[in-house]
């Protein structure tokens, strides 16, 4: 077997041959992707992806959010067509033009967000859209019972979905896929919604599927789970497969290093500029889960001083996004206080916080940072509609388009936004240039505090270095930065203090000068306890 695509970083690279002893080695793999490349305008989402999944194994695909995992799975499930490369299923090269093609080829996908109708029974949900296989009556009920028994899913066809818990719903989703004849099951972040006991049950189910000769593709960024259940692991970084490793020969730390990469230019820290003036203080702040689960945030205490970058490290989904939303006023905390300087701003709306000098680089620039179909200059005004610079006319009720255009020219020049004009739409820029535009519009308004969530995610290396430089320069000028990131390199390089968030709590407190990636990785996965 060919080793996976481009190998970077020092790590054990092994083939998975022999990892599953059940099948003869001359058997064709269940799935074989060769040289898959997918371009979106201005961006390459996947480049030269090589992936071989052997039959009867659980194969994990790991990578950070934005690394290109989901695009790759959409390609395999026929939702998107690759620009280059081939997909072979059971040794036959296939053109998967739609999910129906993928289902016909025996590929099924369980999405992260369940697609079940609450007010229907399990039977009704399962047969919906697949009525031709076993009808909608007794034959279908029997088929479901048999599948459930064969794979140990424990699903009652006549239960109402509304009465089922999350784990059971997931088993229904898996059953739906099996009912449609899938031999290869893709699970997209299946553990994201589960509590630990449910995760154990799921893994038992996956082993059951494997025992029956099915193939499971498991997408995740939770490394400890991947190591527990997978027979082989492929790591994706920046759109391409960088390594294929054997779970027995790699540690969570090594995997984390492969995921975030270690060849990037390290953003070296300079002498500390931290002062003892607190700019942003979060006091014992908690946030309840509106759907009644575990608290999203629990007793968060944190202070950002002038000239300080406080980095929040953590595996996605441990409360980082909620912390940012609470600080930005997009969600009101259940309890606790948030101070800006000396002032209690806990219940201030977003606009008041922005006017008071909090700059914001959102995690998802497309959903929260930009109006993709509006020109650049309107995007520079966005978030600063009430800034005196852009206000004109009686009572400041009008938008000063001329001033906004002048300011946009400045942002474009100063922050090296590569664009032919400030009249093109924001959506036509590449990710890196969009991000530089957002950073520029925030920084040029001279904020006191910058809340930056994953500021260099999905951004090319050049833009990444530029963004780091701008943040460091602003820090020297006394800016306080709350930096949420999954990129350890970035956290270590930029932060003055690193806090680790795990299951809604801040657990660790590290000095970036002395901390090792291993220590951070252990704290992030909870292995340090």
């Amino acid at each position: 077997m060919r080793p996976a695509g481009r190998q970077r970083g020092a790590c054990v690279i092994v083939g998975t041959r022999g990892a599953s002893g059940r099948h003869a080695s001359d058997e064709s793999p269940a799935v074989e992707l060769r040289g898959i490349t997918k371009r979106f305008p201005g961006v390459v989402a996947n480049r030269d992806v090589e992936l071989t999944v052997r039959r009867g194994t659980v194969h994990a695909v790991v990578g950070e959010n934005g690394a290109g995992k989901s695009t790759l799975m959409k390609i395999l499930y026929g939702v998107q067509a690759p620009d280059e490369g081939t997909i072979a299923v059971d040794g036959t090269v296939r053109q998967l033009g739609s999910p129906s093609d993928a289902i016909a080829a025996g590929i099924g996908m369980v999405f992260q967000h369940f697609q079940l109708a609450d007010n229907l029974t399990v039977l009704e949900n399962v047969v919906l859209g697949a009525e031709r296989r076993h009808g909608i009556g007794e034959a279908a009920r029997t088929a479901i019972r048999e599948l459930s028994a064969a794979y140990g899913l424990g699903v009652d066809p006549d239960a109402l979905v509304a009465t089922l818990g999350v784990g059971a719903r997931q088993r229904v989703e898996i059953l739906k896929v099996l009912f449609r004849g899938a031999r290869i099951v893709i699970l997209d972040e299946p553990t994201a919604v589960l509590v630990p006991q449910e995760v154990d049950e799921l893994f038992d189910n996956l082993r059951g599927l494997k025992a029956e000769g099915l193939t499971v593709l498991f997408i995740s960024h939770k490394l400890d789970e991947v190591l527990r259940v997978a027979d082989a692991i492929t790591v994706i970084r920046r759109g391409t497969t960088v390594a294929e490793v054997h779970p027995k020969e790699v540690s969570a730390r090594e995997l984390a290093e492969l995921m975030v990469g270690s060849e990037l230019p390290s953003p070296s820290t300079e002498e500390s500029t931290v002062t003892d003036t607190p700019l942003l203080t979060v006091v014992d702040t908690s946030l309840d889960d509106p759907s009644g689960g575990r608290r999203l945030l629990e007793g968060i205490d944190l202070t950002v001083h002038a000239g300080e970058v406080v980095g929040i490290a953590g595996v996605e989904g441990n409360g980082q996004a909620e912390l940012v939303e609470v600080v930005m006023g997009m969600r009101e905390p259940t309890s606790g206080r948030i101070l800006l300087g000396e002032q209690d701003v806990s219940s201030w709306p977003v606009r008041a916080l922005r006017e008071a000098g909090i700059g914001y680089v959102p995690e998802d620039r497309h959903r929260h940072g930009l109006l993709l179909e509006a020109p650049l200059w309107e995007n520079v005004v966005l978030g600063h509609q009430t800034d005196p610079l852009y206000r004109t006319g009686p009572g400041g009720t009008l938008v000063d388009a001329a001033a906004a255009r002048r300011e946009t020219e400045q942002v474009v020049a100063q922050y090296d936004v590569r664009t032919p004009s400030i009249d093109v739409t924001a959506g036509s820029l590449s990710g890196g240039n969009q991000q530089k535009l957002i950073l520029g519009r925030e920084m040029r308004r001279s904020p006191r505090v910058l809340v930056a969530a994953h500021p260099t995610r999905g951004v090319d290396v050049g833009a990444q270095a530029a963004i780091w430089d701008h943040i460091k320069a602003a820090r020297r000028a006394g800016l306080g930065v709350l930096l949420v990131s999954a990129d350890l390199e970035e956290l270590v390089g930029l932060s003055d203090t690193i806090r680790v968030i795990l299951r809604g709590r801040l657990t660790g407190d590290f000095d970036p000068d002395t901390v090792t990636k291993e220590q951070l990785g252990a704290a992030m996965t909870g292995a340090a306890r």
Binding site: P41, G42, P349, G369, S428, G462
Partner: protein, 370 residues
């Protein structure tokens, strides 16, 4: 930059032109299948209208224009106000009742009528806005329901407010005093029919709409919310308040729809007051791309087709309902054409920007799709 803008204008014009052409072809096919005289029908529809009809077309377009702007205010905010139809009838009734009392002299009474109409329309639409933010009821559903309620409420109240119609079946409110009638303008020579004096109101509505949306901070917030609610929230827009405000503004504008009719033609609200203007407004706003000038052309086209349809029965022996078919096909094709042109435009611009930058430096960025 000028090239960019030229391209944008061309793209903006391409979609309606495409839609009208498609409607022409589809309608011709329908005629062929129905064995109707295709040539004759188009000849009739495309005959230059006589001066009397020109006035009717202008008057029709004036009312349509205001209605379409009311709908467009919602559209710009991603709200679908189907309730313009109910709002303008509630508003016209309220204005007719108040102005019919003749509390104020002459023009002041007209102004009072306009204010009452805007208040009534705004209140009626505001109900849908409040339901949406407090109870999560889709404004599509609530405004449709409010249309039905408006129909019966107005019919019920009309009985109470009615004056003796002198033996006729028509029930109507107390007529306006002569001094409160807005005289028509003899814009088209050689005919006795005149263009509604309140044409200036439609022009004003268009100007205010354009100015508020494109020049004010409120308009910026409204457009931002329509383009991306999540981005608007992150930028500090209070989306809940925005929903109610824009719904009320849409309703206030809808309240003005019936005013040219009330003060320029009917002088009272009766059971024969022109219905259906709100639904035409939806189609016209779509065709006009929510643009103040585009809507004006769309309103003229709509009124033109309406008036030309009368001759179909006589000259071509084809039912005048055919025009309804043409209008329907135009709307369907316009929706499709806009989406096609929009996607094409987005892809075109992305490719052009990428290629311009590639040519100047370096390789494209990597990572997830931007």
């Amino acid at each position: 930059m000028s090239r960019l803008q030229r391209r944008r204008v061309l793209l903006a014009l391409a979609a309606p032109a495409l839609a009208v052409v498609v409607a022409f072809v589809v309608t011709s096919l329908i005629l062929v299948v129905a064995r109707d005289p295709v040539g004759q029908v188009w000849a009739t529809l495309l005959t230059p209208p006589r001066p009397r009809l020109v006035v009717a077309i202008l008057n029709g377009a004036i009312v349509y224009y205001v209605s379409a702007v009311a709908v467009a205010i919602g559209f710009r905010m991603n709200l679908f106000n189907i309730g313009v139809d109910g709002q303008y009838r509630v508003a016209a009734f309220a204005a007719a009742v108040v102005a019919g009392q003749a509390w104020l002299p002459g023009p002041l009474n007209v102004a009072l009528g306009l204010v009452v109409a805007m208040l009534a329309g705004g209140l009626w639409a505001g109900i849908a806005g409040l339901l949406r933010i407090y109870r999560g009821v889709s404004e599509v559903i609530s405004t449709i329901m409010l249309n039905a309620i408006a129909t019966f409420l107005v019919a019920y109240l009309l009985r109470k407010a009615a004056v003796d119609g002198g033996g006729s079946n028509v029930v109507s409110t107390r007529p306006l005093p002569d001094a409160s009638r807005v005289p028509g303008l003899p814009l088209v020579p050689g005919v006795s029919r005149e263009v509604y004096g309140l044409v200036f109101l439609a022009v004003l509505v268009g100007l205010v709409y354009w100015f508020v949306l494109s020049r004010t901070r409120f308009g910026f917030d409204l457009r931002a919310t329509g383009a991306s609610e999540s981005a608007a929230v992150a930028s500090g827009v209070d989306v809940r308040r925005m929903v109610v405000t824009s719904m009320i503004l849409s309703g206030m504008t809808a309240g003005l729809v019936g005013m040219p009719l009330l003060f320029g033609q009917d002088y009272a609200y009766g059971s024969t007051f022109q219905p259906g203007l709100g639904f035409a407004g939806i189609a016209i706003a779509l065709l006009g791309r929510n643009h103040p000038v585009g809507i004006a052309f769309a309103a003229l086209l709509w009124a033109y087709l309406d008036q030309q349809s009368n001759a179909l029965q006589i000259t071509a022996g084809v039912s005048d309902k055919l025009v309804g078919v043409i209008q329907g096909v135009i709307v369907l094709s316009v929706v499709i054409a806009y989406e096609l042109v929009r996607r094409g435009g987005v892809a075109l611009e992305q490719r052009r920007v990428a290629s311009l930058l590639d040519a100047s430096s370096g390789r494209p960025a990597e990572g997830a799709p931007a």
